[in-house]
Amino acid sequence: MNRRNVLKTGSGAALMGVLAAAGIIRPGLALADWNKAAFDAKSMADTLKALGAGSPADSKDVQVTGPDIAENGAVVPVGVSSTLPNVTMVAILIEKNPNALAASFVLPEGTEANVQTRVKMGQTSNVYALVKADGKFYMATKEIKVTLGGCGG
């Protein structure tokens, strides 16, 4: 165990204690530890590895929604939806961003595989939707062209 792991688990446990004490979150339902390795990963391959996704299969049952051309890279509406059964996790990855992973969501039973958010994109890039259904990973891609980057000053 290295120092980073010690710090991470330490602060996570402390947070859980605080939240539990405040009655916001019950023990056992507390937030999962932030997946630092996945969010720090720079390339698509590293990110997929950190998420434990390996090499996901392309699937027609996974959709990425978003504009074809985004005028402002700082605010790009992106959605992920899937018709696959038993979807437990969805993630949004942007290939050419400094860190590929933008957001990931854990979907408990009863929550639909349909999540929308807004992301920043530094430049024109493929946007990947990663979906975990029945323990397997699936992926879909959409290219979004950016005319004004959202990561610069």
Binding site: L15, L19, I24, I25, R26, L29, L31, A32, W34, N35, F39, A74, V75, V76, P77, G79, I94, N97, P98, N99, L101, A102, A103, S104, F105, V106, L107, P108, G110, T111, E112, N114, V115, Q116, T117, R118, V119, K120, M121, G150, C151, G152, G153
Partner: protein, 103 residues
């Protein structure tokens, strides 16, 4: 303490759609200020939504999520008058919880 979230929750045909607008800088840690110094990253890392006692969504954000993040999702169940609560935590340890009534 951060500004309140705007949360809308509406039930239609047994499915509740939740829309959340969070007020947060979401600084990437890649921008520089006028003096060329890097502005430190400041962003939401974790987020969760609950319907009553049941967790309906858990999210993890990276720095690529836009300033003042928007999030929309749907879950089965929920009825008019019931509460949906959303909590987030950022990398500086700040956190906030807000709740809304399903319409």
């Amino acid at each position: 303490m951060a500004n309140p979230m705007k949360i809308r929750a509406a039930n239609k045909d047994g499915v509740t759609e939740v829309k959340v607008l969070i007020s947060h800088e979401m600084e990437t840690g890649q921008r520089k200020d006028a003096n060329g110094a890097i502005i430190p990253a400041w962003f939401i890392t974790e987020l969760s939504a609950k319907h009553g006692d049941k967790v309906v969504l858990q999210g993890e954000f990276g720095t690529a999520v836009s300033k003042n993040p928007y999030l929309a999702f749907k879950f089965k169940g929920g009825a008019k008058g019931e509460k949906v609560a959303v909590s987030w935590k950022d990398n500086k340890g700040d956190s906030r919880t807000d709740e809304a009534t399903i319409a």
